[in-house]
């Protein structure tokens, strides 16, 4: 019963100052709208930009790195065990880029429950022979279906059909490389490998990642085509790319498996640390702007409630004289503040969602981002939850001090003062 009366009085006070109440609620509405729209837009952009790299990047990549053997024979000799051995001009020994035992490693990985999928890859340095000049490039031999499934390969094939790559002696050229070679789809390009083998490959599509440097150099062919180009057997693989169910497991798993398989392993966090930093900072900035908006609207509510209390001193005095205690008066004004926050916040979330839909319709076409047609917006419920919670918290604090002031009003002073 007590609360119904308090709510009733709060309602009457708000209706008596309808215009001010509406203005205060509009302030909250506006800031929540901006908060949700801004975060949605910012994070939409963030995840799109990150996706450019992260989607294509394996969570763990296994490979053999060519480097000097860290265990030189002299270190293993008992005779020189306790001496300081200095060897100059160490060179890497003839080791192969290929992963030893790649088939059993892949079988082991496929049985691991943490692994979503794996895709083997060969990276081959080549020259594209264009007339009298040679352009350097890299041909990536991939397992087409797996690459499409795990690393959204098909999204970045902007012309031609990626499935045609399954035929031998076909290639999908990076857009930049294709432009430089003036190679159209259906044309045949000549490729020379580092070992000197010459192969003719038919262009079946263009690949465009959005990262210009990458597209100038990288082209794609099937695993078997590249193995044939290099004259290597079917077990020849230079990289094993792993996608996990949970990305955060990548660093410890990379370490663990590198030890077991005795090869090098990179995890996505280490390789792409700079992307995460950028994302975090962008997110932080948008939160800061959003929360600033909310705090400003909180001051608006604070002002309006203060005004209301000055105007309603008589009412407060009468309420106290007829038996309302300080707590009741406090609750009345907190109720007013929270109602403004709740109504403004709820409408703000709705308008924020509509603003998101609006931004989503704005065309955004750029050469660098072939898969994007309109501005990306993230509709993650998290932002709505944060926005809603914050609208209540700020309005509560905006109401807290005025309500305390109102509850401290001395009725005698007001009633006698007239």
């Amino acid at each position: 019963m007590k609360w119904t009366l308090i709510i009733e009085i709060a309602k009457a006070l708000m209706l008596a100052r309808r215009k001010q109440t509406v203005i205060a609620a509009t302030g909250v509405l506006f800031s929540i709208t901006m908060f949700v729209a801004l975060l949605g837009f910012m994070n939409g952009l963030n995840s799109m930009l990150d996706g450019l790299v992260i989607n294509r990047t394996p969570h763990i990549r296994f490979y053999n790195e060519i480097r000097p053997n860290p265990n030189q024979p002299i270190d293993q000799s008992e005779k020189f065990e306790n001496s300081l051995n200095i060897i100059r001009s160490i060179k890497p020994s003839t080791s192969r880029l290929a992963i030893y035992n790649s088939e059993s490693i892949m079988r082991t990985l496929e049985r691991d429950s943490r692994v979503l999928g794996i895709s083997p890859k060969i990276s081959a340095q080549v020259f594209f022979n264009v007339g009298t000049i040679d352009l350097t490039g890299i041909v990536n031999g991939i397992e087409v279906e797996k690459e499409a499934e795990l690393f959204s390969f098909s999204d970045y094939v902007t012309a031609g059909d990626y499935a045609e790559l399954n035929q031998t002696n076909t290639i999908i050229l990076g857009k930049g490389a294709a432009d430089r070679m003036l190679a159209d789809i259906g044309d045949v390009v000549q490729v020379t490998t580092a070992q000197g083998n010459r192969v003719q490959l038919k262009v079946v599509g263009y690949y465009q990642s959005g990262l210009g440097d990458f597209d100038n150099v990288n082209s794609y062919a099937s695993l078997t085509t590249v193995q044939k180009m290099l004259g290597e057997p079917a077990s020849y693989v230079t990289d094993i790319q792993v996608k996990l169910h949970d990305l955060s497991l990548a660093p410890p798993m990379a370490k663990e498996l590198a030890g077991i398989f005795q090869i090098d392993a990179d995890d996505i966090q280490t390789v792409n640390a700079q992307f995460e930093t950028g994302t975090n900072i962008r997110t932080m900035i948008s939160y800061a702007v959003g929360i600033t908006l909310l705090v400003v609207s909180g001051f608006g509510i604070y002002n309006i409630l203060n005004m209301m209390i000055y105007e309603k001193l008589d009412t407060i005095a009468i309420l106290k004289a007829i038996g309302f205690d300080s707590r009741d008066v406090n609750r009345i004004f907190i109720t007013i503040a929270l109602t403004i926050g709740f109504v403004g916040g709820a409408l703000g979330l709705l308008f924020g969602f509509l603003a998101g839909l609006g931004i989503d319709q704005i065309p955004f076409e750029t050469e660098a981002l072939p898969t994007i047609k309109t501005f990306p917006v993230d509709y993650n419920p998290k932002y709505y939850l944060i926005g809603g919670t914050f609208s209540l918290i700020t309005t509560y604090f905006a109401g807290f001090f005025p309500a305390r002031k109102a509850s401290g009003v001395d009725p005698v002073e007001i009633i006698r003062g007239k």
Binding site: K320, A321, G323
Partner: protein, 229 residues
């Protein structure tokens, strides 16, 4: 001791000081009792401390020395929340200027102290409020907003509101002070009626000698002292 002998209000040696700008004693050893069913008026020149006394008696002003008992219960030094509850239940108020809450209808104004007390259900309270308004011939205005009434009408509604919880005591601070002759007479007659027909205990501060003459007992004050009672 039966209920009729318990004084409704008992003040013993009430001292009150104002500290702003300098220390001045406004009430000096004020003592008196009010018995059940008495209609008492407090008179005196302006500045003699009669309003100050009333606000101390009303429990709203707690900054005083001395002992104050309401219905046999010592209330000096009680918490302000407890006093609010007491005020709601046992004291009805009528002020000189502050009549009603303009945000509410006449009926709601009368009901609010009852809703706060929570003794009766809403429907019953509404019925009771109409009954109280009927005493003052205001039942036809029940649905109007408070600020649509004239001063005299507002004051009559304010008295009805003071009655809603069947209080032990009604206090008035110059309830007719701000009204014209005609309205002042109406309000005065209503007080008389309450005293005669309902045996309502009342303590009214006034400087209107005519009003005071019609009461059972006059407490006269001068310079912070009771000089005649």
């Amino acid at each position: 001791m039966n209920a009729f002998e318990t004084p409704v209000l008992e003040a013993k040696n009430i001292d009150k000081f104002f500290y702003n700008p300098t220390e001045t004693q406004v009430l000096k050893k004020v003592s008196f009792t009010i018995k059940r069913g008495e209609f008492v008026s407090v008179v005196g020149k302006s500045g003699c401390g009669k309003s100050t006394l009333l606000y101390i008696l009303s429990t709203m002003d707690t900054d005083y020395r001395g002992e104050l008992s309401l219905d046999g219960e010592l209330i000096s030094g009680k918490s302000s929340d407890y006093l609010s509850k007491l005020r709601n239940e046992k004291i009805g108020f009528v002020f000189q200027f502050h009549y009603l809450l303009n945000e509410f209808s006449v009926l709601e104004n009368v009901m609010i102290p009852g809703l706060k007390l929570g003794k009766y259900a809403r429907e019953e309270l509404e019925h009771r409020a109409i009954e109280k308004l009927r005493i003052f011939d205001m039942q036809d205005h029940a649905k109007k907003k408070a600020n649509q009434l004239s001063g005299g009408q507002k004051q009559r509604v304010a008295i009805a509101r003071a009655l809603i919880n069947d209080p032990l005591l009604i206090m008035g601070d110059e309830p007719t002070g701000n009204l014209d002759k005609k309205n002042s007479d109406i309000v005065y007659n209503k007080f008389k009626e309450l005293a005669a027909d309902f045996g309502q205990t009342m303590l009214i501060v006034t400087h209107d000698p005519e009003f005071a003459e019609g009461t059972d007992r006059i407490i006269e004050m001068e310079d912070g002292r009771v000089i005649r009672q």
